[in-house]
Structure formats: structure tokens, C-alpha cells
Symmetry: D2
Subunit: 356 residues, 4 copies
Amino acid sequence: MSWNTFGRVFRFTTWGESHGPALGVVVDGCPPGIELSEADIQPFLDARKPGQSKYTTQRREADEVRILSGVFEGKTTGTPISLMIENTDQRSKDYSEVAKAYRPGHADYTYDAKYGFRDYRGGGRSSARETAARVAAGAIARKVIPEVEITAWVEQIGEVPLLYSRFDKAEIRNNPFFCPDAETVTRWEQLVDNARKSGSSLGAMVTCWAEGVPAGWGAPIYAKLDSELAAAMMTINATKGVEIGDGFAAVQNTGEGNADPMRPGADGSVEFKANHAGGIAGGISTGQPVTCRVAFKPTSSILTPVDTVTRDGEATEISTKGRHDPCVGIRGVPVVEAMMALVLADQKLLHRAQCG
Amino acid sequence: MSWNTFGRVFRFTTWGESHGPALGVVVDGCPPGIELSEADIQPFLDARKPGQSKYTTQRREADEVRILSGVFEGKTTGTPISLMIENTDQRSKDYSEVAKAYRPGHADYTYDAKYGFRDYRGGGRSSARETAARVAAGAIARKVIPEVEITAWVEQIGEVPLLYSRFDKAEIRNNPFFCPDAETVTRWEQLVDNARKSGSSLGAMVTCWAEGVPAGWGAPIYAKLDSELAAAMMTINATKGVEIGDGFAAVQNTGEGNADPMRPGADGSVEFKANHAGGIAGGISTGQPVTCRVAFKPTSSILTPVDTVTRDGEATEISTKGRHDPCVGIRGVPVVEAMMALVLADQKLLHRAQCG
Amino acid sequence: MSWNTFGRVFRFTTWGESHGPALGVVVDGCPPGIELSEADIQPFLDARKPGQSKYTTQRREADEVRILSGVFEGKTTGTPISLMIENTDQRSKDYSEVAKAYRPGHADYTYDAKYGFRDYRGGGRSSARETAARVAAGAIARKVIPEVEITAWVEQIGEVPLLYSRFDKAEIRNNPFFCPDAETVTRWEQLVDNARKSGSSLGAMVTCWAEGVPAGWGAPIYAKLDSELAAAMMTINATKGVEIGDGFAAVQNTGEGNADPMRPGADGSVEFKANHAGGIAGGISTGQPVTCRVAFKPTSSILTPVDTVTRDGEATEISTKGRHDPCVGIRGVPVVEAMMALVLADQKLLHRAQCG
Amino acid sequence: MSWNTFGRVFRFTTWGESHGPALGVVVDGCPPGIELSEADIQPFLDARKPGQSKYTTQRREADEVRILSGVFEGKTTGTPISLMIENTDQRSKDYSEVAKAYRPGHADYTYDAKYGFRDYRGGGRSSARETAARVAAGAIARKVIPEVEITAWVEQIGEVPLLYSRFDKAEIRNNPFFCPDAETVTRWEQLVDNARKSGSSLGAMVTCWAEGVPAGWGAPIYAKLDSELAAAMMTINATKGVEIGDGFAAVQNTGEGNADPMRPGADGSVEFKANHAGGIAGGISTGQPVTCRVAFKPTSSILTPVDTVTRDGEATEISTKGRHDPCVGIRGVPVVEAMMALVLADQKLLHRAQCG
């Protein structure tokens, strides 16, 4: 079954292919009375937009969003919000090679195995271009949770991690890597440039924090906040892993070392002395920052020829000469933020439904 | 909102608390005509059962499952299958300390923040005892996908990894650690025993393989097979991370290194020369083994006192003296297998719906 | 696909067959902190219970409900509420005739066509016995909407309608017909008794009112309150029609005649001068009583032999000698009320989710 | 909560308002490999299109549909199909009166009560214009169920029923009333014309048949085929009642009279001697024609002034001078057909999921 909808009560459905006339999203369940215009959405699309530096794909898309429904006199009405983004740079390139053979690491073979069919134009529905639609939806989600501030950044590219001692949030939007440290930027520039020039590609790690989430969002058992986040992040193209809080590092910790002790806070509230748990216990938010980390594999599209087969079952090899990201994880940052916002908006409304 | 149902067309709903009279699951959407009796389910519950060695909790539960509906003359009818397991060892211990203060790392505080309420008897709904119900459901799921063989094992406890060079699948059911190597067992025995004696606890990593999954299961975009697996695994108590295939290691790889080249196989099929991707591309199975790894944090229940607060907001400290697993990840193995089976059964039926 | 769950955020899942060991329901999404015990549920089950007069089936079931989860110290916890009712009077009758041939009007043939299977013991899952589970769930739903008062009654049996001029709500619970007029009762007694004695059966019409529903419940487009009610009522065994407000009579009315004019009410509220619409406009409640009417066909189980075929395709005839309701619509009254409550509870929570 | 999606595995989501720039639908879950172009959809939109005779609203819309995704090289790909229809005749009329006061019978008051908001431009989301989107989706659904032939017609307008003895299916598309008898057309012309001239309006009854539905579609308990149909039909603007088969007439029948006796058919099949049940037993199709009837109220927009209140709570009266259907049920015919197709396509895929 095809299932292109996400969310339980704040729900969105994306549609569109890499090289079709347009792509879009329908957001259903948005509360009424929220001020919304294209200007609220466009900046997030601009942050994700390709072709802005030599470190990302050279495909140039205006990615101009248009609101087609659900907003009246500048405010949401409570009815479905339809957003559309036209594709403008579907270069009429020669797809004959791609059409013939499966690109390893892409969805070429699996879509064909499933549907008996291939849309070879830039990957069709499996293209990361789909994420533009959810970044647009995410901008609406953010307006549903004004109490929450969401920030994501790249924490590692290939083998080069961010120097966390130099973390500067203000720096993140100042460079094409969403990197919170200018010095690390210099190292990554060279790294990614080398990969680009040699036709190779690099993996990346993206971290995301949501501050301001009150205690009590999330739900047992199969709508746990961490489960919803894991599902959300794992839908992003090229992701291979998700962790909450300390994540995999917790395996090597002890119960004492991993504890988040509590103490009385101001005004009868509760404070935590640590946040190993990433702001979630028993699937429900603790009131601390909700944190997660997402692993992106190196882009599968590389210049180096890789063995593959044709649709007719012949052995061949393929290399990708098109406009591709040498490190697709970088452009994952706005998408990770969007998914965090979309999950939290949904959980906020769910919580309100049951607990008033 | 409470959401205790998982699955899209093969759906199950669990219910019950740690210290209530019983717990259970309703499985809806199971195909008709499948032979099913309690004897098909009981072995999986037995594998998960507590109190079988000194390395797990000493709570003793018979965990006897009873089929209450959906089976007639030994076969599934296509209508809901209701399974019930009675709780028999809810020792009438003294809960006064637990009832008063929040246990850090548990859901005590978050449930109270959400529901204004606490079931202090062993964690109530947030107890890992709930997983008995899904292990039972998982046994039914396995019968829906007879073409698939699912195997999980513990890959690491604390800082001590399995020696993979000595991997022996037959060994897994021979020891209380679900460990595929007898020599590693010896090391873990000492490690876990030390933790148990000192009142500490340990994290663990569980790996799961599903062999025999045909190419084509899974669906774009928000029902991707890897997204469903991530959601499923992240609902298990104490999990903090999920990865598919190489997972986080892919971050440090290159496009060439991470490629899974293809070649023609026998009879017009396709073969892969590697499986970095964990058997999933574009959210759809490739026909290779589907592999994932799950990180379990160290049990939060430890003898060492930890700072916390009472429901009235007073500072205090708490230590857990009850019957607890020194390494809760060990007993996660049958649960991880169950969730893999449940996701795959659902995806098989979904695929059949759309693609015939 | 089997789909035994109803509701969007206040959801319930029923299970069980006519002649299995038990039947039950899991209610998920109930708000926490609501006082609930078996004593809140039992009266509704008692009202629906068979064997209470000669006008209904002589099967005698205690229909004792047991709460297995989701309630702690007398209050709902916000986690799934599991209710179970044991079957006690599954008389070991001779099913050989029923097992061999399809009973026309029953689900015998269609279940076999769908599932390749038949549970001939009293209809299995298709038995009206399933409605006990939802009546139990409905009792919980009522506690979620204390502002609403729901009343249903029988409006017509066969060709004999209720004399509305003599409508007396207090009378409804005083007779075995849920009839709001004692004089009509006398007429129906004779009618139903004749049908029972002659082995025939009668249809019935049930009307339901919900008073106290505030304006604003319901949602566009495919979760309209009237659509949800229609779906809910049409799931009840033997129902063949549903109408809201004036329903089919509106076909012969004019726009002027069918209008519900409005005028200013007290305290800035709005009043309506009529309620042709049944309290719903555009799928959303108006604040007036929500009214609907449900048509029940005559019981298919009759003494008169009817032509049918055996599972092997041979012509035969069948007559039903068992314990059956001569007018199954009568016992539909508590079920109609339950479904009204379940829909409204769900819509109340949905409304709260989106509109605060 | 807003909920603008319908269906379980073949799902569609509509969006758009009467006077926004466009409206549309996203169809998800369509099987791959089905030939599809705008030419397959347009005829159904044309049949529903306003402004084609003096008996319907004079709003003139081209209703040209555009496929934006999900189709590649003329065939469905299995990914979401996005359809868009631009609004072209949103006449810039004076809405000041409508904006000020609630039109009785419309969703004006209820939307405001729910959302604190009003889109007064032609009813916004509550306008019957939304049905264009589902008629488009219905055209796709029909291609999923080529074995089924769906036909709907008007059976009654006001007090004037169709003469069934003169039923001629070929006649239905020959007149603006979707009437299967030319003589009845003459009577209805005069009737509707009188209503139009006097500023009044009329109700209508629409009947729909689906022939070729095999036995076995539908599912217990809350996804019964009749329940899904009732929900679907009751979402159509102005509907107030739905019945299956004999529907409300069954109330006055007896068990013998209402029976659909069976006999052996050719080739081991089963035949029925009657179809009182409307082709559904126990919620599952019998293999006979699936039949239902839908009641439409008279259009609420009439010239006769009706008492109402302003948003400020002042008493006033309102009459509708715009371009409205004197009998909105007439244009319900293509919508009823579309909903029948959408329900059946969904149920076909659901059946395939569970029963192979």
C-alpha cells in the first residue's frame, strides 16, 4: 500500500515527483485562527533549497510555495491547507542510461520490484525533492507550537566531527553546512570539496533539539514520542539511524551513570540534573529539551562506476554524472527540523484531546 | 491521546498493567485459515519469561496464554484474535516509597505530568510486562509470514561486545543471554553478575535479522519499511536508538564504500555483493536480509540511591530494591523479534492490497 | 481486511464470538481521572440482556462485565480499558443443520465467500451478541460526555407506529419494548406475541435523541457528525437505513418548509425555531438535540422454511428453531444509544484537539 | 479535528474552498500500472458540472482537471495521484449581507461556532463545490474496479416519483435530471422550473446500483460495506438519509417477506431469488447488485426570506439571491456514483490484503 500521510490528528499528505510539474502537501487538522501566509513558509524552503553553494546539488529551484486553500483573510480556517511548489528546473537531460539500469543504493530496483514500474526521471517519488513539501508543512507545524524552539545542525561529516566546545548557535545559519562553529566549517569545506571533485560522497550526522516542550506530550504505547520521532526521521531520504538522548552510547553506560536525577525547582516545578534520556521517559516528554540524532549515509549517486544490472538482467556498471549533493545529510537539516515540528504539533493536539 | 494500537492492516492492540489482573492483545486483520493454537504462541512467551536465570528479574510469571476468540476448529477465522495472559505474581509488596517519589528514568513523573495520576504498582502500563502481549501477537505474525525467518541476539552488554568471528546461531537459545557464542557467554555471566550484586545495571545492544523477505515490501513515504521498524523498535521499553544496516557507521563511510553493487543472479533474479543498506532501499525491501540494531539503556531501577522529588515536590532520594533485570536489554531479544514479525506481516498484507 | 475498531481518538475494539468463551472490548483514548467501576457499566448491559421477557430471545446470559485494565483506585488512568464478558449460555445444541446450509439473511454465505470458512455456532462473529461489547464501551463513553443526555426508543414495530401524542419518556424503561407509551405497549405485545407464536418476525424503527450537545462538534468533510452517526448505526446487526432529523421526509419538503429559522437567544446565544436538520448543519452540531432514526429489518431467523443451498451447492430449505428475537430491533435500543454516545465522545475529544 | 481523508487503504484527501484559487484531491494507494489520463476523469466532472441547464446553478465552471503526480508514461505508478481543478467563476459578488448573517440550513453558524471563523465566500469549505474533487477521485476508483458497473439516477423530486415501470437506463444521460424515463422528465421540468421561478427549492431521492461486485467484499464489524456506504453517502452536502436495499420499507415487512432465498446457480455458484438486502449480508457483499438510496433535502438557499441572526446576535432575515440549484439532489447523482466507486475500490483492496 502506498501511504503518503503522516500524523494522527495534525496530519499531512505529500505528493509529487522529482520531475513532475509540481509537488505539494495537504495539511489537515491545523487549528483555526493562526496567522499564515506564504511569507511564513518561504524562509524554511529557502534554507533547504538546492543550488545555493558548491557543496550541494546544482539543481536550481525557486521553490516558491503557494497556499491554495485553508487560509482566509490571513488566518487558518481549520480546513485543509493545500500548498503547491512548482518544479522549474527539471532539466531535459538524457535519462537513457539511468532508465536502462538500476542505480545501487537508490530506490530504482525496489520500486520496480514493488510496482513493476520505474519513473527514472530523477528518482520520481523516491527523490529527496519530496522533502520540500514537508519542510513547507513543517513551517505550519511550528506555528501550532509557538512555545517550542527547534534547532538542528550538522554534527559530523564523514570522519570529521564538530568541535562541541566551540558550539555557537548563531553560527548555524551563517554557513552552507548548518555548522555551529566557523572553524569546523573550514575543515568541512575542504572535505566536501574534495569529495565533490573526486566524484565521491560523504555521510553526515544531524542533531536536533526542541526546547520548550512541556512535560506530558507523547502517549503509550505505540504513539510514544520517541517512537513517533524515530518513524519521522527514518522517512527522510538517506537516513540509516536515529537515537534519542545519549542513544547508542547508553549501551556502555551504567544505571548510575545514565540516571537523570531530579530535584525541586522553582514554584513547585521539577528540575533535572542531567538529560541522558533526551527529554523523554516512558514515551512522554519530561519538560527537558527533546533531543535526537540522525545518521545520513553518503549519497549513493557517485562518479565512480558501480556494478549493477539492467532491467533486462544484464550485468553493467553505472556512474552518476548529474547534479547531486556530495553530502546529502547537509540539506537534511531543515528536513529534520520540519519533522520534529510536525511530530510535536501532532502530539500537542493529541495531548489536548485526551487530557484537556 | 492514548494509542495502544500498532499496524496498518494487520493491527494489534495491547492492554493491561504490570499489577492488574491480566494483560492481553487483540490482533485484527489476520488472514483466515491459518492453523493456530496456544501451543504456537507459548514457546515465544516462555523465551521472554522472567525468572528463568539469576541474570533476569526474579518475578515468576507462568505467562500462560489463552486464545479467547478468532480461532475456530484450530484455524484463524479472519476475525479478531483475543489473547489473554493472567498476572499471577503481583507480590503484595510495600509500594509506599515508590508511591511517594518519582523513580528517575522511569515513566513515573511523565505519566503524572500527563495524566495527573500514578499507578505505582510496578509502573502500571509503562512496565515492560506489556511486552508479553506483543510477543504473543508476534507469534501470530510469524505464521502470516512463513517465508521469513527472524533471528535476534544480544550483540553487546555494557562495554563487552560479542566476538562475531565466533558467531553460532545454534548457540543463541542455549544460554540466558541470547548470545550466539559460548565464550562470550562466560564473560557476560561475570559482568552481569557483578552488576546484579553491586546493585548497578548495564545497557545492551540487540541485533535482528529477517531472512526471506522478498523484494517489494514497504511503501513510500511515511510507511517505509525502515520507518515502520524504527517506530516499532522505539516503542520497546528502555530503547534509545535504532539503526538499519550499517546505521551510524555509514556516517563515516564514502559513497563507494557504502555501495551495495548488484549483479545478475540465477534465473533472471538480482544479486547483491554487499548489504550495507540492511536490505532496504527507498523504504522498500531489496530481497536481502532485513537487518536492524537496537540500543537498550541500562535498567533505571538500581540499588544506588538517586536524587529525586516526591509528588509533593520535596527533595528525597530513592533506590529500587525490588525484583529487577540487571540488564533489561537481554529480555528485549524476543520482543525485538516480535516487533520485526509484526511489521513484516503488516507490510506483506499492505503490499498485497496495492500490488495484488 | 478485518476492522473491528471504531473511533478516531476515543477508539474501541471489540472481539469475541457468539459461542466462544468470552467477548470483550478495549477502549483506548479515554481521558484520565474519570470515576469508573463495573457498576457504571452493568445497568446498560442489563438493559440489553436477552431472556428478560418472552418478546426477546430466551438465551440467558448473565452478561457480567469485568474491568481488566485502565482503572486504578476507582478512576480511569488514560490507558486502555479492557472489558470482558464471559459467555455462559452457549447451549450445546445440535448445529448439524445450520453447519450444512446457509441461512438466508444471515452472514453465513458471505463469511464463507470471504473467508472460506464458517463458524456455525450461533453466527460466530456476525452474531448480535457482539453488541454487548459495545454497549459496555458506550457506558464509558457516556462518562466522557456528562453534558449530554441520550435517549432512544422504539418508534414502530411492523406496521404499528408509536402514538407520539402520548410520548412519555419515563415510560421507556417500564416495558420490554423501550416504548414511551403504555397504550402502544399493549398493541405491540399482541403483535410481537403473534409473530413469535407463528414463527414469523417483525421489523422495527428506533429513534435516538442526544440533548446537550454544544454547537461545534463534528468536522469537515469525511468526519462529519452525521456521517459518523450513519456509519455507527449501520454497523448494528439488522440495520438497513439511517436518517438524520427529518431524513427521507425532507425529500418531499420545500426549502421554506424545511428551514430551521434562527433568532437571538438569551445571553447572546442563538435559538432555532425548528429542528428539521436534526441538530446538524454542514456536518457540525448546531446546539439543538441531535436526532436520528434507524431501521431494523425483521429477524432473518424464522420458523417458516426458506429455500437455500448447502455448502456443497445442493438445494435445500432451512428453518430456524433456536432461541431468537421475534423483533430484533427492540434490543437494538441500548445499542443505538451506545453508538450515539461513542460517536459523541469521540467528536468531543476531536473538537478539543483542534479547537482547544 | 478536521478530517478530510476517506478510505482505509485506497485513500483520498480533498482540499479547497468554493471561492479559493483551486480545489483538488490526493489519491493514495492506487494500484500501479493502470492507464490513466485527464480524459478518463473529465467526463465525470462534465456530468457534474454546474451551469448546463436552467435546472441547476448558473455558476459556470470549466472544471478542467489536471493530473500533477502519480502518473508516468500514461500509467499509475502506485504513488499519490494529485488532481487539481482551478476555480474560474468565483464572481466577485457582494458578500456583505451573507458575511453579516448566518444562512439557516447552511454551515455558516456551525463553522463559526466551531472555528470562531467564517469564510462567507459561497460557503468556503462547506460548499458542494468540494464534491468536484471527489468526482475526480471517483473516476480513478472506477478504474480500480473494472468488474463493477455503477449507475445512479434520480428516483424522486419533491413529491413526484419516477415511474419505475418505464425505467430505461439509456435515458439517464439524455436529460438534465439523470432520470431514466423521458415522461417523468417532462413532469420534473415543470416542477423544478416552478420552484426556480418562485425562489423555492425541492428535495430529491437518488438511487445507486453497483453490478458485478463479487461476494466477499466488506468486513466485520466497523468496516462493514453498508456502514462504509452510509458514511460515504452521508458526507455529501444536503444528504439526510441513507438506506441499503429495501431500507426503511423493511420495517413493515415480515421475516418471510424480507427473505432472499437462495438456490444453486450454474457452475457451483449460488443464486438469489430476491434482493431485499441490497446485496449485503453481515456487512459483506453477496454477489448481487449492491443498492442504496440517498435522501437530499431541498436546497437551503431560497429567495423567501427566513429569520436568522447576525454574527453580533441581532435578529434579521435573509434570502439568497445568488446562483443556486433549485434541487441540489439532481447534481448529487455523479457524486453518489463517485462515493460508491470509492468505497468499493477501497473494499476490494482491503479484501485482497487479508484474503489474498
